[in-house]
C-alpha cells in the first residue's frame, strides 16, 4: 500500500463520485459542475501514470475550454421565462440495466485476459520534450492532419453558430 496506491484510490473516488452525480442529477447545471470535479480526478490519474503534460492539457482543455463551452450552452439554452432547469423524470431503469450488463462483460475481459505488464517502479521521466520529438518525427502526418480537422471544426461551428 504505497503512497501511489493510496492516491490512486483517492483520485478514483474524485473521478467517479462527481461522474455519478453528473449522470443522475436532475438539474443540468449541477451536472455540468460535477464534471469539473471528475475532470480534476482524471488529471490526478494522469499524474499518477507519469503523464504530466497530458494532465496539464486535461485541465487546460477540459476545465478551461470544454466546460466553459458547456456552461455557456446550458445558460444560453435555458427556457425564456425563468423556468428552473428541471429535467423531466425519464425512467432510468433500462439504461442502468444495460450499463451493468456492459460493465459485467468489461470486467470479465479485464480480469481474465493475461496482460503482459512490465511493472517498473522507477520514478517517471518528464514527457514533454519526448512528446515533441515523437510528434515531429513518427507522428508527423497525424499532427498535420490535426490542423485540418481543427480548421474544419472551426469553420463548421462558426457557420452554424453565427446568427444571421
Amino acid at each position: 500500500m504505497t503512497a501511489q496506491d493510496f492516491f490512486f484510490y483517492i483520485f478514483a473516488l474524485i473521478t467517479l463520485l462527481p461522474a455519478i452525480v453528473c449522470v443522475f442529477h436532475p438539474n443540468i447545471l449541477y451536472a455540468g459542475l460535477s464534471l469539473f470535479g471528475s475532470f480534476f480526478g482524471v488529471a490526478g490519474i494522469y499524474i499518477l501514470l507519469g503523464a504530466d503534460f497530458i494532465a496539464a492539457t486535461q485541465v487546460l482543455i477540459y476545465v478551461g475550454g470544454i466546460l466553459v463551452l458547456i456552461l455557456f450552452a446550458v445558460m444560453l439554452s435555458k427556457d425564456i421565462y425563468g423556468a428552473k432547469f428541471q429535467d423531466e423524470k425519464k425512467k432510468k431503469i433500462m439504461p442502468i440495466i444495460l450499463g451493468s450488463v456492459l460493465l459485467g462483460f468489461l470486467l470479465k475481459f479485464i480480469l481474465t485476459t493475461p496482460w503482459n505488464m512490465t511493472l517498473t517502479d522507477e520514478a517517471p521521466l518528464p514527457t514533454t520534450s519526448r512528446l515533441g520529438d515523437l510528434l515531429l518525427t513518427d507522428y508527423l502526418l497525424p499532427f498535420e492532419l490535426a490542423s485540418i480537422l481543427l480548421l474544419a471544426a472551426l469553420i463548421g461551428a462558426i457557420i452554424l453558430a453565427r446568427s444571421k
Binding site: 475550454g65 463551452l69 514533454t128 520534450s129 510528434l135 490542423s147 481543427l150 472551426l154 453558430a161
Partner: protein, 136 residues
C-alpha cells in the same frame, strides 16, 4: 516528479480550504441580521424587475468556439516548443524542415482565423463596422 506534484496537490488543498476558513473567521466576527429588504438582489435601489436568467444571443458562444480551437492548437504546439531548440541546435541541416512542418501546421489554422476575421455580417457591410467575426 511525484514530490513536485505532491507539493502542488498540497497547495491545491490548502487553496481550496483557505476560502471557507476566511469566511468562517468572517462568520464568527461579523453581525448577521438578514432582513428581507437586504436580501433582494441589488438594482440601484429600484425593485428588481423579472428574473435575472435573461437570455442573450450567441456572440459569446462564437468567442468560446474560437478560443477552444486555438487552445487545442496551442496545446499541440507546446511539446514541439519544448524540443524546438534541440532540433535547431543539433541537426543543423534539418532545421528548416522542422520549421516548415511547424509553419504548415500554423498556416492551415491561420486560414481558419482569416475566415473568422473576414466574416462581415451582410447587412452592415458599409457603415457600422462591428468586430466582424463577433458582430458585436
Amino acid at each position: 516528479m511525484y514530490t513536485q506534484f505532491a507539493t502542488v496537490l498540497i497547495f491545491l488543498i490548502i487553496g481550496a480550504g483557505m476560502v471557507p476558513l476566511i469566511l468562517l473567521v468572517g462568520k464568527i466576527l461579523r453581525p448577521s441580521n438578514p432582513d428581507p429588504k437586504k436580501l433582494t438582489s441589488y438594482e440601484c435601489g429600484e425593485e428588481p424587475v423579472g428574473g435575472s436568467w435573461v437570455q442573450f444571443n450567441l456572440r459569446f458562444y462564437v468567442i468560446a468556439i474560437l478560443f477552444l480551437i486555438f487552445d487545442v492548437e496551442v496545446v499541440l504546439m507546446f511539446p514541439i516548443g519544448a524540443t524546438f531548440r534541440q532540433w535547431m541546435i543539433s541537426q543543423a541541416g534539418k532545421g528548416l524542415l522542422v520549421f516548415a512542418e511547424v509553419a504548415l501546421f500554423i498556416g492551415i489554422l491561420l486560414i481558419g482565423f482569416a475566415y473568422a476575421w473576414g466574416l462581415r455580417p451582410p447587412a452592415q457591410r458599409k457603415n457600422h463596422k462591428p468586430c466582424p467575426c463577433l458582430n458585436f
